[in-house]
């Protein structure tokens, strides 16, 4: 596809199009894609894989997520006004503290007791209604059970969607994969167990690919290279063209 009758020149990466040294530099440049941990960190930063309320914050309790299943859902809540203050407060707090998505909601305004934590995600925050139908989309709106119990107005406003997954699901998924990643270096057996746990609890989670990469590496580290290879083959069949394929090949030393 090159307009004006001009043909695109051969790329320098193509065989014979450039000196070997230049090609190897370009190949090195091309091979740099984020690893699973970096993707996870970026996704978490974007809120794309869910609110992490309470992750590592023992005692926070009731951490839940308002997974934005599309701007429509959240926008609706905002326009409806019921959750307006909470969400506006969240937004302001989010900015003031550099993007924190966690805030404690108060019911009424006079009641000083924190009634819940709202975590916000943009798992599928595309400004289109179709966003809500994404397989990996967060449920449209969710509030932690504790919030639901004691902050009814806001909870009602936010809990619009049916078919909501368990409240802690995304948060728990991220935590679980993070624990597996942490365990990988020193305790591959534990990492493997955590991966199995993840496979059971989140068969179609957002981090299935990341979990598989961790599991394959854990198998290699525990000396089960054949199993690692078989699992890698299943991965490639299931996720052809995945950006993790090269990483898996590196892990397997192929």
């Amino acid at each position: 596809m090159s307009g004006g009758g001009q043909v695109d020149p051969p790329r320098l990466l193509d065989e014979g199009a450039a000196a070997g040294e230049l090609r190897s530099l370009l190949r090195a440049g091309k091979s740099e894609v984020p690893n699973a941990a970096q993707m996870l960190a970026l996704a978490a930063k974007l809120g794309a894989i869910g609110g992490l309320g309470g992750a590592g914050a023992g005692g926070a309790g009731g951490a839940g997520g308002v997974g934005a299943g599309g701007v429509g859902a959240v926008g609706g809540a905002v326009k409806g006004g019921l959750a307006m203050k909470v969400i506006a407060a969240l937004a302001v707090i989010g900015v003031a503290s550099g993007g924190v998505a966690i805030a404690v909601k108060r019911s009424g305004g006079m009641d000083a007791a924190p009634v819940g934590i709202v975590a916000v995600s943009t798992a599928s925050a595309a400004p289109s209604a179709s966003a809500a139908s994404s397989a990996s989309a967060a449920p449209s709106a969710r509030i932690a059970p504790s919030a639901r119990a004691s902050a009814a107005p806001s909870a009602r406003a936010s809990a619009g969607a049916a078919g909501v997954r368990p409240v802690e699901s995304e948060e728990a998924e991220v935590k679980l994969v993070a624990r597996a990643q942490d365990a990988l270096r020193a305790r591959p057996d534990e990492a493997l167990a955590l991966c199995s746990d993840h496979a059971k609890r989140f068969p179609s989670g957002m981090l299935v690919q990341e979990r598989e990469v961790i599991a394959i590496e854990a198998l290699v580290k525990t000396g089960r290279k054949d199993e690692a290879r078989a699992r890698a083959n299943r991965f490639k069949a299931r996720f052809p063209g995945s950006t993790h394929t090269r990483r898996i090949e590196t892990i397997l030393g192929t």
Binding site: S2, G4, Q6, D8, R11, L13, A19, E21, L22, L25, L26, G29, S31, V33, P34, N35, A37, M39, L40, A41, A43, A44, K45, L46, G47, A48, G53, G56, A57, A60, A63, V66, A68, V78, L90, A91, I93, S97, G98, G99, V100, A101, V104, S121, T122, A123, A125, A126, P127, S128, A129, S130, A131, S133, S134, S136, A178, T250, I251, G253
Partner: protein, 218 residues
């Protein structure tokens, strides 16, 4: 009372979905607040049917945005932040995307502009070449990882000699493998201009590689 949890492995989660638009303006700590950002002209109409959910866009494009940003001169220490910024812009503008170009081309355009803004800001580049590889695969792979890292650093030093326009064309064509028509669309210049920039960039890069070789042989 605000509870600020420690989130692995980085600290904060940004709540894009509910932020009002003024909040969603990407944070550009390296730019004066008044500076306007050149973003791609919004396509003419909304076509929600053709726009996949943001999560899917993120999964499919983030690795390549990341890579493009690195080659466009964003140091490793900042690439996560700048990548985040690209997706904030994508999120903000997605409703206007009508599919005149491919989504991929459109996102690369945003990436190139964001990287260019970053570079123009003159933010001091922190070299991280000597850092350990981010995720050393296993003992046998460390040498390879280090060699890759050094090769990338050499490449980036050479690319640093290009101005923004030439660098964007070179990276999008030679590394990201867009067609030249897509490159022109992404960077917003006539096709013929894109060709000229590519040829000029190639001359600079080839000379840079020769110099690097001469240095390493000396």
């Amino acid at each position: 009372m605000i509870i600020i949890p420690r989130v692995w492995p980085h600290s904060w989660v940004v709540s894009l979905a509910v932020l009002p638009s003024f909040v969603l303006a990407p944070s550009r700590p390296w730019l004066p607040p008044v500076q306007q950002v050149d973003e791609p002209a919004p396509p003419r109409a909304v076509n929600a049917d053709r726009v996949p959910p943001l999560a899917q866009i993120f999964r499919e494009h983030a690795p390549f945005v990341w890579r493009a940003l690195r080659r466009l001169g964003i140091p490793e220490s900042d690439v996560e932040d700048v990548c985040q910024e690209v997706f904030v812009v994508v999120h903000r503008k997605l409703g206007d995307f009508e599919g005149r170009s491919s989504l991929r081309t459109w996102i690369y355009g945003i990436s190139a502009r964001t990287a260019s803004d970053y570079r123009r800001s003159g933010r001091v580049r922190r070299e991280v070449v000597t850092d350990a590889p981010p995720e050393a695969p296993h003992d046998g792979g460390q040498q390879e990882a280090l060699a890759l890292k050094q090769a990338r650093a050499t490449l980036d030093r050479i690319l640093d000699e290009l101005d923004d326009d030439k660098r964007s064309v070179f990276v999008l064509y030679e590394i990201e493998e867009l067609t030249m028509a897509e490159v022109a669309e992404a960077v917003g210049c006539p096709l013929q201009t894109a060709y000229s920039r590519l040829h000029a960039a190639r001359r600079v890069v080839e000379a840079g590689v020769q110099r690097a070789q001469a240095r390493s042989e000396a």
